[in-house]
Symmetry: C2
Subunit: 254 residues, 2 copies
């Protein structure tokens, strides 16, 4: 059984990468063979696990634009047993202009992933803060969308556009696409605005909101600098406990 | 004398919008006639000042793609005396595909702004978290780039790409472009990583780094929900004092 989860939100800095790198590690540590796919030109998921990313020759960009290259050609191991990575590079910034006008431009990632589905129980896709061709590829390839939302005014305002885009993808290209859940991230327990916006998010989304909330924690911010997930970097921290709990919810929903 | 300052950093959520909305207000309150230009499809600067943004008919998208529309046709007042706004809308997401292949696609904003330069002492441009056509237009149109950087590992890693892009714009389209300064934002005084990364930023950039640091403050996160700048919302808060001090540095450098 294979589940493809795309982490998406066009608002910047809401914890997409932090969520992608930690839920993929948690799934792998639980024994699920997991693939983390980085499609962001900024390659933050890639640099969070790879020691010398500048040495990577072929990335997801080559795989999506060269029919001779399969994802297997570019897969990398990580220090997490059972977790593999498809790396990204800045060349992904050219994807939209390279594929403009191609009839299958929205299906490239889905087509390439098809061949890997029998090898991985979970495929997690980290996306850039845009709703362009890259993110659309990730939505077309997905079984589920996980939406991290930071409880702040500017973060909440983009939610309509995101939901509209998901709806369009369902109608045009991926009718089975579902929202796995909305994840409240970067929650600052001390602030009133956080609580107000959380209530608003729960009003709008109802049971779609995960019970687990990821609170602001320095350890989560530090761990990518050491190329580790939170589970080896700070296994008893709130970040580790929360992402572990989140993965339990994910497994029960997916 | 007219100064165009583009706020840019392709990393998401580093305080580009928070900086744009507050330095433009500070300049206006100091008596400088100021124009805030929103070119981000997410229109966060727009929604931070405009009560009913959905009622805006023509935005920067129409001005950049229709030769009959001037920026004057779409300028809006704000509640800040002396501060005007050029609004954005989600339609800006189509700019790249609309202008693809046009020889002047990188110069559209510069050409449109030319006519307004004698009317405003400062023009502040808020950009999306990408290094695509929109941000390049904002860099080609600018006298200066102001770079907000959040002191965290993932935020620091994208700096090379940003500097490379600025260099390319200088060589190909805007030889007078300068970096006004690097602004450390979202500084969390309690964390060690913040201090480490700040030292690294100062090592790399030297005196380019502004003396003023913007620390994390709930009031800065709340004020856009009330469509106010920090200066009326919480005039005695650290956010107000820091952005006021930053504007003194900007005026002395620009
Ligand atoms: N719960 C948390 N506690 C503390 N810091 C966090 C937390 N989640 C994320 N961060 C930090 O906040 C910043 C933004 O997070 P992250 O890069 O994961 O967001 P993103 O949505 O992937 O951003 P982008 O839109 O640029 O891709 C990073 O520096 C990250 O380390
Ligand atoms: N100094 C600060 N203290 C507290 N919150 C802040 C501060 N600066 C920004 N924020 C909040 O952090 C979030 C990200 O800031 P902001 O939207 O200004 O960044 P951005 O770089 O414009 O993001 P994007 O890349 O999505 O355009 C927002 O919710 C904002 O209100
Ligand atoms: Mg990211
Ligand atoms: Mg912004």
């Amino acid at each position: 059984k294979n589940t493809v989860i795309t982490i998406a939100n066009q608002k910047g800095g809401v914890g997409k990468t932090t969520t992608a790198i930690n839920i993929s590690a948690a799934l792998a540590f639980k024994g699920f063979k997991t693939l983390l796919v980085d499609v962001d030109p900024q390659a933050n998921s890639t640099i969070s696990y790879v020691l010398n990313p500048e040495k990577i020759e072929k990335s997801i960009y080559e795989a999506l634009t060269d029919s001779n290259i399969t994802l297997k050609d570019i897969i990398l191991n990580t220090t997490v047993p059972g977790l593999h990575l498809i790396p990204s590079k800045i060349s992904m910034a050219k994807l939209e202009s390279t594929l403009l006008g191609e009839i299958d431009s929205y299906y490239r990632l889905k087509d390439k992933i098809e061949g890997l589905k029998k090898e991985y129980e979970y495929i997690i896709i980290d996306t850039p803060p845009t709703l362009g061709l890259i993110t659309l590829n990730a939505m077309v390839a997905a079984s589920y969308i996980l939406i991290p939302i930071q409880p702040s005014y500017l973060s909440l305002e983009g939610t309509d556009d995101l939901l509209e885009t998901i709806e369009k993808v369902k109608q045009r290209a991926n009718p089975d696409l579902k929202i796995l859940g909305v994840l409240i991230t970067l929650h600052d327990k001390r602030t009133v605005i956080s609580k107000d916006v959380i209530n608003k998010i729960k009003e709008v989304f109802g049971p779609v909101v995960f019970k687990t909330i990821i609170t602001r924690s320095v350890r989560l911010e530090e761990s990518p600098a050491y190329k580790e997930s939170i589970f080896t970097f700070a296994p008893n921290s709130s970040g580790a406990i929360q992402y572990k709990n989140l993965v339990e919810e994910i497994i029960s929903r997916a």
